[in-house]
């Protein structure tokens, strides 16, 4: 005979203050756990969306980032004539020779300075990134001092909205458009004409080259040829891999910090559950005795107290998740250590995180409830009945 589920459920709701306090502790832990996972997911999504699998990024060997990389014009000429590169309908190779530098801009809300990536793109730069759309104003005209800003830059930095001006490299640059890159890393960049920016910054070399492959399988051959060419000192990576590597340190940092915090916090919340369940067992000793006398087995008692504890965890878990889901409205922007530039990303909730968070909450309940439930199941019928 099995003790009905409603017995456990009603016990959870019997003592409201205790249930609320215990569940609140667990809810906070689940909140922290879920937000960290959401942050990691948001960062991952931002960078996965930044790259596309058949785009190749070529940078100077062991430079790590585009900002530190340099490719001179002669080298660029060799790279853009590789046979694996796709050709557009206009008969030109689908290549963008880009110059990537950092400029310091001030934030609108705090007036604090932060590094922003400014990317000079070639004629095909935006065609190679189909996710980039102009949402306000227009595209910059090649050969002019015009720039366009990513959505999250336009919102957060002085002088980056359409119609405003930025001054750097002894020139005033007119912001003529705002673009949306669908939540990818490009949203945290400013784009302009590569040749104009190279002149303004007195930097006669490109930073990186973006190549579109005609056939995604041609990567291995292209990489081998480029990296073994004695005239070049470059390395080629798939764009997806390149951007994933760009945020490795930040992603790991968030991951480790989140894991450590979740573990430490869960100790506190599990102890809370344990205290509650021990009290629950102690105050119901006579009841347990009665249940046993009625013919319920020890395993049934163990089971029902575990169930009660898991339910407690679940209440906390759901509350925590509901709180965490509000975080999706927030965008975090911080410096990515590797690229040394501002990167904006948001908290992203998905079914896998929901499942993990609820599982985590129930596990806390289970661990916290195990010893008290064991004690309940081991009670002697006679002693338990006498306790009343």
């Amino acid at each position: 005979m099995i003790i009905p589920f409603s017995y456990a459920a009603k016990n959870v709701s019997a003592r409201k203050l205790t249930t609320v306090l215990t569940a609140a502790g667990m809810a906070l832990v689940v909140f922290v756990f879920a937000t960290v996972l959401m942050l990691q997911e948001g960062l991952r999504k931002t960078l996965v969306d930044t790259g596309s699998a058949d785009n190749i990024v070529v940078t100077r060997r062991s430079s790590g980032t585009e900002v530190q990389s340099a490719i001179d014009r002669a080298q660029a000429g060799i790279i853009e004539n590789q046979p694996e590169i796709a050709y557009g309908p206009d008969g030109r190779a689908r290549v963008s020779k880009e110059t990537v530098v950092l400029i310091t801009l001030r934030k609108r809300d705090t007036d604090k300075a932060s590094n922003v990536i400014i990317r000079g793109v070639g004629a095909q730069g935006s065609e190679l990134r189909p996710q980039v759309r102009i949402v306000d104003g227009r595209m910059f005209r090649p050969g002019s001092s015009e720039i366009i800003a990513g959505r999250s830059i336009a919102e957060r930095f002085h002088g980056a909205r359409v119609g405003e001006q930025l001054r750097f490299g002894m020139r005033d640059w007119m912001v003529v458009g705002t673009f949306d890159a669908n939540g990818s890393g490009f949203d945290s960049e400013i784009w302009g004409d590569a040749e104009q920016l190279m002149q303004a910054f007195r930097r006669p070399v490109f930073s990186s080259m973006i190549l579109k492959l005609a056939d995604a399988n041609g990567f291995a051959a292209l990489k081998l040829r480029l990296e073994s060419d004695p005239r070049l000192t470059v390395e080629a990576k798939r764009e997806t891999v390149f951007y994933a590597e760009q945020s490795e340190v930040l992603a790991n940092f968030i991951g480790y910090l989140g894991l450590t915090l979740s573990v430490i916090f869960s100790i506190g919340a599990t102890i809370g559950a344990m205290i509650t369940m021990y009290a629950s067992v102690a105050s119901r000793t006579a009841e347990i005795g009665t249940l046993r006398a009625l013919g319920f087995r020890r395993s049934g008692i163990l089971w029902v107290f575990l169930l009660e504890s898991v339910l407690l965890g679940l209440v906390g878990g759901v509350t925590g998740l509901v709180l965490a889901s509000f975080m999706q409205f927030l965008t975090i922007s911080t410096m990515n250590w590797q690229s040394f530039a501002e990167l904006a990303f948001s908290f992203t909730l998905n079914p896998s995180i929901t499942a993990k968070a609820l599982g985590f909450a129930m596990a806390m309940g289970l661990v916290g409830g195990f010893l008290p439930a064991l004690r309940a199941s081991k009670l002697n019928i006679i002693d338990a009945l006498r306790a009343a």
Binding site: L21, G25, L102, T104, N115, I264, G268, A269, G272
Partner: protein, 385 residues
């Protein structure tokens, strides 16, 4: 004295529950202390900055260099006593994981500006004569086992090629908060090599470090330096070393704020646990409280007993937590290596831990205490646990 005994007896009545609560508070206070320490470590660079040092850099961003010729022009500005320069090298030692800051510096002018780096004069002399030499910090040396005479290869990420340096000296900090995780070598070595490999990038420096006569002149001198390079090919931005360091902190502000919020959340978690313990305890003792009231204990005295019990548990847990923070922080510091140049528990952190414990104890006793004070004797005597 009598009350103290009663409080202790009460606290120890449910040994298991009290034990678990103390354990919870211990973990929470420990975690709180460590998180505060992480936040402080974030700001450590700025806290140690000297008020009489300014940093001049390219106004576009740090990624752009300044010409070496600016040195003499900065020296001529009123109030400037020293000028030195440095380049961020950004080399990789064996693998990307081994991150530590490396600077190419003009040694003759750089080290006099940083008296907090203690270097054996004899070894310093060797370094000055050794073009491919380097000076490493004590903490850095300890982490990678660098000894005087070792050769350290760095793969340049900003400056191409593999560079080799011989460790000529190890510097110590004047006090424990000095950053001894840095790596210095001769700017001349970098520059001479660049002249041959990438001539366009030679004769340029990343930042100028400017020593001034008095900290009060910082704003005026900064403005004067920037004014003298206005409308040039490389306009400058000069700020105090502290502002410069805080600029880095500001860039990662979101993370610092997140850690700060989380450090307070852990206190809330334990507050819920502790409040639960106290609520359960006083619920079980309703009859007892009523009896005590009947015997003549006033409401205030009864609340004080509950308050005292709550405080005793909270402070006991916190005491162990505070004692444990330092060794755990030291263990972390040894594991983290040079990620945080300075990682130590400050007196401020201990005070905040103590404050958090008092807060937790007080809040947990609030409702049970009020309830006990308001309790009607008849109701209490009637209640059955």
């Amino acid at each position: 004295m009598y009350y103290l005994k009663l409080i202790l007896r009460n606290a120890l009545r449910h040994k298991l529950r009290t034990g678990l609560t103390v354990l919870g508070i211990f973990v929470a206070i420990l975690a709180f202390g460590l998180l505060r320490t992480v936040v402080e470590a974030w700001f450590a660079g700025a806290d140690n900055a000297s008020a009489t040092r300014l940093v001049t850099r390219n106004s576009i961003s740090l990624a752009f260099p300044l010409p070496i010729t600016y040195s003499d022009r900065i020296r001529r500005v009123e109030g400037v006593t020293h000028v030195s320069h440095a380049n961020w090298f950004g080399g990789i030692y064996v693998s990307e994981k081994n991150f530590f800051p490396q600077f190419a510096v003009d040694a003759a002018s750089y080290f006099p500006l940083y008296p907090e780096y203690r270097i054996d004069p004899a070894l310093m002399k060797t370094f000055m004569l050794d073009r491919k030499g380097c000076i490493v910090g004590r903490k850095l040396a300890a982490q990678y086992g660098f000894k005087v005479g070792d050769v350290v290869p760095l793969r340049g990420s900003i400056f191409p090629g593999t560079w080799e340096f011989r460790v000529d000296a190890i510097y110590d900090g004047a006090d424990p908060k000095t950053d001894t995780s840095q790596f210095f070598f001769h700017w001349d070595y970098l520059n001479e090599t660049l002249k041959q490999t990438v001539p366009r990038r030679a004769n340029s420096v990343g930042v100028y470090i400017v020593g001034i006569d008095h900290s009060q002149h910082a704003a005026a001198v900064s403005a004067a330096i920037d004014e003298s390079f206005r409308n040039s090919l490389a306009e400058t931005l000069t700020e105090t070393e502290k502002a410069f360091q805080l600029g880095f902190v500001a860039m990662t502000e979101a993370i610092v704020i997140a850690i700060q919020i989380v450090s307070f959340l852990v206190i809330f978690v334990i507050m819920a646990v502790m409040a639960n313990t106290m609520a359960m305890t006083s619920r079980e003792r309703l009859t007892e409280h009523a009896t005590m009231k009947a015997m003549g204990f006033g409401p205030a005295r009864l609340s004080a007993l509950i308050f005292g019990e709550s405080m005793a548990i909270a402070l006991f847990g916190a005491a162990i937590g505070i004692v444990a923070t330092r060794p755990v922080a030291n263990w972390f510091a040894s594991k983290l290596g040079t990620l945080f140049p300075v990682f130590g528990v400050s007196g401020n952190t201990v005070l905040m831990q103590l404050g958090a414990a008092v807060l937790v104890g007080a809040v947990a006793a609030l409702f049970p205490g009020m309830h006990a004070a308001r309790l009607r004797i008849v109701d209490g005597l009637r209640s059955i646990g």
